[in-house]
Amino acid sequence: MSLLEYKQIAKHFGGVRAIEDVSFSVEVGEIVGLIGPNGAGKTTLFSMASGFLKPTRGEIRFRDRRIDGSAPPAVCRMGLARTFQIVRPFGEMSVLDNVMVGAFLHHPDRAAARRAALVVLERVGMADRHDQSARTLTLAGRKRLEVAKALATQPKLLLLDEVMAGLTPVETAGMMDLIRSVRSDGVTVLLVEHNIQATMQLSDRIVVIHHGRKICDATPAEVAADPEVIAAYLGEDED
């Protein structure tokens, strides 16, 4: 059974067809990469799964239940957590408090939430910075905090929206290690990424979106050799 399934999803913004007839699925335990040129519609697909946007047509299923049209908190409670491409720390709160907001989902008690949040911070390597104000973190720190907040909700599926964008090669390698360790803990990962190389190395499978349509869904090696994918990235008017 697939953990997450997009079935003939379409999303139109007025006359703009951002997503047209996209279907793919994510199996339990996979790391799936979602790539495509700028404006291909990757983040739109994320927003529809996490409840922030309602598809114009089609169906999204998570753990065999229909989730398109559900509110974001309901989706999160079912075990689907997302991060945001433009990082969104709660700036006035400390790093620990940020993660506690996520941990409270399954630990209503403050002391328990604090303990759970500290475990998550330890895991993402930020325990030493738990007291720091989230606003003062570096970009790499903020990206990690995004992941930590989402992990604190104890998701079954983690949607990572460009958590490696803007990071140095060393920071990127650290993030890749983190994503791999998250998966080995039993969390399935779907990631949107601009860093093609990192995605190729990380993912079991890659879905390529171009102009709102799926043009490829295969292993990294097959995707790299696919003429349509190469044309989408190198040819025409795309960057």
Binding site: P89, M93, V101, G102, A150
Partner: protein, 326 residues
């Protein structure tokens, strides 16, 4: 609670108990009562306006409902305002839901404007209800002299004792909220609502709960005002001035914090009294003072006076630590 906190609380209670003995001049005592009362109102507003960050400019609605409900029930049915206070609080809670459901879809300035508009509507309704609510001239609470069971007394110390209890309740409510999951959720909503939603925070329900709590406390304040002043009018209890004043006291002091609203009131209310004395009671002097202080504080420290105090305290401990090292 820690032993130190219990000691602090006991000390505060002792201090507050002595105040009316020291300041037995009714004028001074009335300023103290008013200051504590505004600290209470600012703390009530703080729950939705400060912690949850929803800039309400319509809290006079709940204040007015509290004042008019208890007074009307007293005048029409002879019901004790203590009971009327609870009825008013229930009505205000309902009103908070009625206002909140549509308005929480709006953000920022639009939310503020919508709450302001809701209060104007209520005020117009009251002004046009001549028979039941006394129209624009307002209502006088029938004098009963020393009747504590009817929330009335000729001595100011009676009201002083009540307002101190009210302050303690509001402080405790804010304290408990700030430490709970609910408080973390509200703070997260203030910082970034979408990010909070993504972490499973039901922002609409949290905001509604905060609005209801805030409205109930404010409404009780309205009943207290009616019994203390023994006269209410739409302008006084439903006026935009009041809504703005409550919000500004909290914002200047430090919204979203426990002691900020208290600090704001402790500074502004006495200052307002001085301004009134200096200008010989010129109308608008108080509002000008509020506007000026708001501009100055926001220019230098948008997080309010409490943030400045904290900075000073931090610097001092840091300096002490440096001395210790040397």
């Amino acid at each position: 609670m820690q032993p130190r906190q219990i000691l602090t609380a006991l000390g505060a209670v002792a201090l507050l108990a002595v105040v009316p003995l020291v300041f037995d001049n009714p004028y001074t005592l009335s300023i103290i009562i008013l200051t504590i009362f505004y600290a209470y109102l600012a703390l009530s507003w703080n729950i939705i306006g400060g912690i949850a960050g929803q800039l309400s400019l319509g809290h006079a609605a709940y204040f007015g409902i509290g004042a008019y409900t208890s007074t009307t029930l007293f005048l029409s049915f002879g019901l004790s305002p203590w009971i009327g206070m609870l009825a008013g609080a229930a009505l205000s809670a309902l009103m908070a839901v009625v206002i909140g459901l549509p308005c929480f879809r709006l953000r920022g300035a639009y939310f503020a404007l919508a709450t302001l508009a809701a209060t104007v509507i209520l005020k117009v309704i009251v002004e046009n209800s001549h028979e039941l609510l006394g129209g624009p001239r307002g209502l006088e609470v029938r004098l009963m002299h020393d009747a504590p069971l009817y929330f009335q007394h000729t001595r100011k110390e009676f009201y002083y004792a009540i307002v101190v209890v009210m302050l303690a309740v509001a402080l405790y409510a804010n304290f408990a909220i700030l430490r709970s999951r609910f408080g973390y959720y509200l703070t997260a909503i203030r910082n970034d609502q979408d990010a909070a939603l993504a972490l499973g925070v039901d922002s609409r329900r949290c905001k509604l709960t905060a609005a209801v709590l805030s409205a109930v406390l404010t409404s009780i304040g309205g009943t207290f005002y009616a019994q203390y002043v023994l006269f209410i009018s739409p302008e006084k209890v439903f006026g935009a001035n009041l809504s703005v004043q409550i919000a500004v006291v909290c914002i200047i002091g430090g919204r979203g914090t426990l002691w900020g609203p208290v600090l704001g009131a402790a500074l502004l209310l006495p200052a307002e009294e001085v301004a009134r004395a200096v200008t010989g009671g010129a109308p608008g002097a108080a509002m000008m003072l509020y506007g000026l202080l708001l501009m100055v504080v926001m220019r230098f420290e948008p997080n309010g006076l409490i943030a400045i105090l904290k900075r000073v305290a931090n610097r001092r401990t840091a300096a002490r630590a440096r001395v210790g090292v040397a």
